[in-house]
């Protein structure tokens, strides 16, 4: 019973991390129709930059901001110089961004090496918290749940309750119409893709502090994010929230109950969805 509860908390804290990554992916697709397979590489890049900053300055906050900012700059260049030239050809985008991810992964390997590296966590986030019933749980992952929930709440408010959110939603539905009403859609694209890159970058720092950073981590985390997006529905923020929770919990229980087949547990929701709702829980026609 105790383990079941602890696994649930594990799952929810992983879900918080997945949401950071999947929300950016899903918003870029929703608004710009861009499938960015380099999102996992953005995560790894943000994590490595954050690691270097944390080691140099000793500040975890600076690591998060720096990791995010570095990825925003890199993402902007990739977007402007490469992705922009593919138009709306998804096949070309996938190949192109996979190529970018290969280059980033290989260069990162050359710079930071092939070992598992862990970003140092500040002292006040170390140790464990005591939960009711005499259970102990790592404080860091507990705080991560609140951080994820905070980001989700801010994104949701931004998306649903502010004017810029309304414009983005209108852009998701009909880009030409929005642009015809005199709104600078190009600037909107830059802001959204910058936000997506930033979220991926901070996810790398936050995730690198408990999952560690290593070559190949970019693909592992990307697959989880993809499953989240497939389950939730491409382009839907709410879908990314629900999808992250489903995938996080399934993964935690899968690892606990069927350690050798934990990846296989992920197949269940995908298969069921494909049979009954091929576009995901909140997906719309694209």
């Amino acid at each position: 019973m105790t383990s079941a509860i602890l696994q649930a908390i594990n799952g929810i804290s992983f879900a918080a991390l997945l949401f950071l990554l999947a929300s950016g992916f899903t918003l870029s697709f929703g608004l710009m129709r861009v499938v960015n397979m380099a999102h996992g590489a953005y995560y790894l890049l943000g994590g490595y930059v954050g690691l270097t900053l944390a080691q140099r300055t000793g500040s975890f906050t600076l690591a998060i901001i720096g990791g995010g900012a570095a990825v925003v700059a890199f993402g902007y260049l990739v977007d402007r110089l490469l992705i922009r030239r593919t138009g709306e050809n998804h096949l070309a985008q996938v190949l192109l961004t996979v190529g970018v991810a290969f280059v980033v992964g290989d260069v990162a390997l050359a710079i930071w090496g092939g070992d598992n590296l862990k970003i140092p966590v500040p002292p006040f986030l170390r140790g464990a918290v005591e939960l009711p019933g005499g259970m102990y749980y790592p404080k860091y992952r507990f705080v991560l749940i609140f951080f994820g929930a905070l980001v989700a709440a801010v994104l949701w408010l931004l998306y649903r309750k502010t004017q810029i959110g309304a414009v983005v939603r209108a852009g998701v539905d009909d880009r030409e119409q929005v642009s015809a009403t005199g709104i600078n859609i190009d600037r909107l694209f830059v802001i959204t893709s910058g936000l997506a890159s930033f979220l991926a970058g901070i996810a790398g720092v936050v995730g690198g502090a408990f999952l560690t950073l290593y070559p190949g981590a970019e693909w592992e985390i990307l697959v989880y994010a993809l499953v989240v997006v497939i389950v939730g529905g491409l382009g839907s923020l709410e879908g990314a929230m629900i999808g992250a929770l489903i995938v996080g919990l399934l993964d935690a229980y899968g690892r606990w109950l069927l350690p050798e087949f934990s990846y296989f547990v992920l197949f269940g929701p995908i298969a069921l969805l494909m049979l009954f709702r091929p576009r995901g829980l909140f997906g719309t026609e694209h």
């Binding site: 697709f29 499938v35 490469l82 030239r85 593919t86 998804h90 096949l91 070309a92 996938v94 190949l95 192109l96 996979v98 190529g99 970018v100 991810a101 290969f102 280059v103 992964g105 290989d106 260069v107 390997l109 050359a110 693909w219 592992e220 697959v223 993809l226 499953v227 997006v229 497939i230 491409l234 350690p259 050798e260 087949f261 934990s262 990846y263 296989f264 992920l266 197949f267 995908i270 298969a271 494909m274 049979l275 091929p278 576009r279 694209h286």
Partner: protein
């Protein structure tokens, strides 16, 4: 004419080139076959699958485990490998319920599941080390003992597959697939069961990838999780695209270019994965129709200016 010259060159290759080139050529045929299986979907139906390494790997693992651990003879182990990979395609085939980006994303996720199982289920698959010491194939008195003999076996199978592929894509079924690629709604209103068409194409494509996997394991003599990795799936797709989709020689040309580049590149550069990545980017930006497409464009231009060499 070009085909005959190429065939003659391939048949004579072991006599004029050393063992290194013969090994490389064998690999090019095997990965070309895998790329051809990807192109059966990509070039004929427009579906872009990124999970073909799964069928390749499941077939390779099945054959290797049966042959090494249970001593099953090749006559059973090789067909069992093809069947296992095809069976996986029968399951993964449900992904044809989706189209476009969803299809791409779902096949990526499915591919990773197979890689994860190969990697984590170490009591059965051998984990990171995989399965080693796979013998050369032998059926009764017909035994392959050298790479020289295996080269001709692979070449013969690849030629048979290419002929079969050509018959398939020119059959009413293959034309139906091309019709779906051009306009699925029109085909559906003409009374075609497009979902079933695509499903059958997916399974056939998986079977072809499985065959390549069996050929691979007997060549490589071991199999590990890398065989089923996302990287192999992407490279197979890239081979088809670099060479030129919708053709038969294209995937083999692409396979030759990529494997050649990797063998040549890895002896010069540290960063050969980054070089691969650069090839991806360059292909998408400058040669989206592949080399066959480039050659066609060039020929069309020459013809237009009246300087056609033919």
């Amino acid at each position: 004419m070009v085909v005959i010259v190429l065939l003659a060159a391939a048949l004579a290759l072991p006599y004029y080139a050393g063992p290194f080139w013969m090994g490389l050529a064998t690999q090019i045929y095997i990965f070309g076959l895998l790329a051809l299986s990807v192109d059966l979907l990509l070039g004929n139906t427009g579906l872009f699958s990124l999970c073909h390494a799964s069928f390749f790997a499941v077939a390779a693992y099945t054959t290797a485990i049966l042959q090494v651990r249970y001593g099953v003879p090749t006559a059973l182990a090789a067909p069992a490998g093809v069947c296992a990979g095809t069976l996986l395609a029968v399951v993964f085939g449900i992904s044809v319920r989706t189209r476009g980006v969803y299809f791409i994303l779902i096949t990526i996720a499915l591919g990773f599941i197979v890689w994860g199982v190969a990697y984590r289920w170490s009591s059965f698959t051998g984990g990171d080390n995989g399965v080693t010491n796979v013998p050369f194939p032998s059926i009764g008195p017909l035994a392959i003992a050298t790479h020289f003999q295996y080269y001709y076996l692979v070449l013969a199978i690849v030629i048979l597959c290419a002929i079969g592929y050509r018959v398939l894509v020119r059959s009413p079924f293959g034309l139906g697939l091309r019709g779906i690629k051009a306009s699925e709604t029109r085909m559906r209103s003409l009374g075609y069961r497009t979902g079933l068409h695509l499903y059958v194409a997916f399974v056939l494509s998986g079977a072809l990838a499985s065959l390549a996997g069996v050929l691979y394991v007997y060549y490589n003599r071991f199999v590990n999780p890398v065989t089923g990795s996302f990287q192999i799936s992407v490279e197979a797709a890239l081979m088809a695209i670099v060479g030129g989709t919708g053709t038969i020689v294209g995937p083999f040309i692409g396979s030759g270019i990529l494997l050649g580049l990797r063998n040549w590149g890895s002896s010069f550069f540290e960063l050969h994965a980054a070089v691969m990545g650069a090839v991806f980017i360059a292909t998408v930006l400058w040669a989206p129709d592949g080399l066959v497409g480039l050659a066609r464009r060039l020929r069309a231009r020459l013809r237009a200016t009246g300087k056609d060499p033919e």
